[in-house]
């Protein structure tokens, strides 16, 4: 192989690397679901179709906001652990895109009250939190600030550890 091909590929690499410095994705404005941001203004929908802001649902409690789906086997694996881990100082919000009727019936099989279930029929909440893997869990403190995020099903130890950190966090 002649050195010319080596140099051509080398030059192409340097060029794309330079592009990586020049063409940088524009900085996001507003809510991007990063640690330190507030979730208070995001609204979810109740089983009766009423839109409710997360700030109102959290009501100055630390919380675990869990994005899930009934068809997702990994979500079903962690579901029983979620209610067991939540303490009086924290709240659990289950957010899904399914229909209210079938989701409530599904949760009933796990003895989970349907009042914990909230909905995102048009997908704007999933998009705002950039949820691409189910389940995805956000832990927020009593001020509604994101403290941590876990993608995929959590072990009970991981769940307790993150919830305790959210309960102790005082960031405003």
């Amino acid at each position: 192989m002649r050195n010319v091909w080596r140099n051509v590929l080398g030059a192409v690499f340097v060029l794309v690397l330079a592009l990586a410095v020049v063409i940088r994705p524009s900085a996001h404005q507003g809510f991007t679901a990063q640690v330190g941001q507030s979730v208070g203004n995001i609204a979810v929908v109740s089983a009766s179709g009423q839109s409710v802001a997360l700030a109102r649902l959290l009501d100055h409690h630390a919380a675990l906001i869990n994005f899930w789906a009934t068809w997702c086997p990994a979500c079903r694996m962690e579901l029983p652990n979620l209610t067991a881990a939540v303490t009086p100082a924290s709240r659990l919000l289950l957010v899904s895109q399914g229909s209210a009727g079938s989701t409530s019936a599904f949760l009933g099989r796990y003895h989970i009250p349907s009042r914990l279930s909230w909905y995102d029929p048009d997908g704007h909440v999933f998009n705002a939190f950039f949820v691409t893997t189910l389940p995805t869990s956000y832990f927020v403190n009593r001020n509604g600030i994101i403290v941590s995020k876990i993608v995929g099903p959590m072990t009970p130890a991981l769940l307790r550890q993150n919830l305790a950190a959210a309960e102790q966090n005082q960031e405003d």
Binding site: R6, A20, R24, T132, L134, G152
Partner: protein, 227 residues
């Protein structure tokens, strides 16, 4: 395009199914090329070491839970912990194989690895959850569940497939020195990785971790292409 992490084939996520398919493809290609046994050992070490490291680190953090629920090991969190476990497991296993065959390694082994790993990576990439910035480019947009983001994994898979085609053509049509095909593979992988990363939102200073990995690959590739 689809969201890879939300596609399940039976009880298994697409990522796992494609990993199995990619490993099978790599082994079939190695058989066809009559690659030395030590190259096959290396591939086994990479796959098994990575898997055991990834799952093992979660077992170590919560052993009682996984003893009672072994099936839960199919789905473990996507975290740095798992990445570190996989890297450590694969690294240890690779080192063991390298040491075991220490006197027999040749530069041509690198070519055999490149020719089999390259198409396997292209196939496996279709299951990566690598999703980029908001876009509406036809074919490269994930349009399910209202997402409208760049299917970066798909772009990378296509570019890797093109790179595979290039090195397989090079193998057939040119008389190359040992190690040069591996050099081209590393160079094309570095270029395609940086190109795909341009569509992703993550930013570095000046580069992301992945782009730094690409720099290392490019330097190694440039060195090997020299023959």
């Amino acid at each position: 395009m689809y969201i890879p992490s939300q596609v399940l084939l039976g009880p298994l996520p697409l990522f796992n199914v494609l990993l199995i398919a990619a490993a099978a493809l790599a082994f079939v290609l190695q058989e066809r090329m009559k690659a030395p046994g030590r190259v096959q050992d290396l591939l086994w070490a990479l796959i098994l070491g990575g898997l055991l490291g990834d799952k093992g680190i979660y077992i170590a953090t919560d052993p009682a839970y996984f003893v009672h629920n072994p099936s839960h090991l199919i789905f473990t969190p996507e975290s740095r912990l798992g990445l570190w476990g996989a890297a450590a497991g694969a690294g240890l296993a690779l080192l063991s194989v390298l040491v075991y065959h220490r006197k027999r390694w040749a530069l041509s082994d690198l070519d055999a690895i490149a020719l089999t790993v390259s198409p396997a990576l292209a196939l496996w990439a279709m299951g990566f959850n690598w999703i980029g910035v908001a876009t509406r480019i036809p074919l490269l947009t994930i349009a399910t569940r209202h997402l409208n983001h760049f299917a970066t994994y798909f772009l990378w898979a296509i570019l890797m497939a093109v790179g595979s085609g290039v090195i397989w053509i090079l193998r057939r049509s040119h008389s190359l020195k040992p190690g040069q095909i591996a050099g081209v593979f590393l160079m094309t992988t570095a270029i395609t990785t940086v190109l795909a990363s341009l569509t992703a939102a993550s930013r570095g200073n000046p580069f992301t971790s992945l782009q730094w990995v690409a720099v290392v690959l490019a330097l190694a590739g440039y060195r090997l292409m020299g023959g």
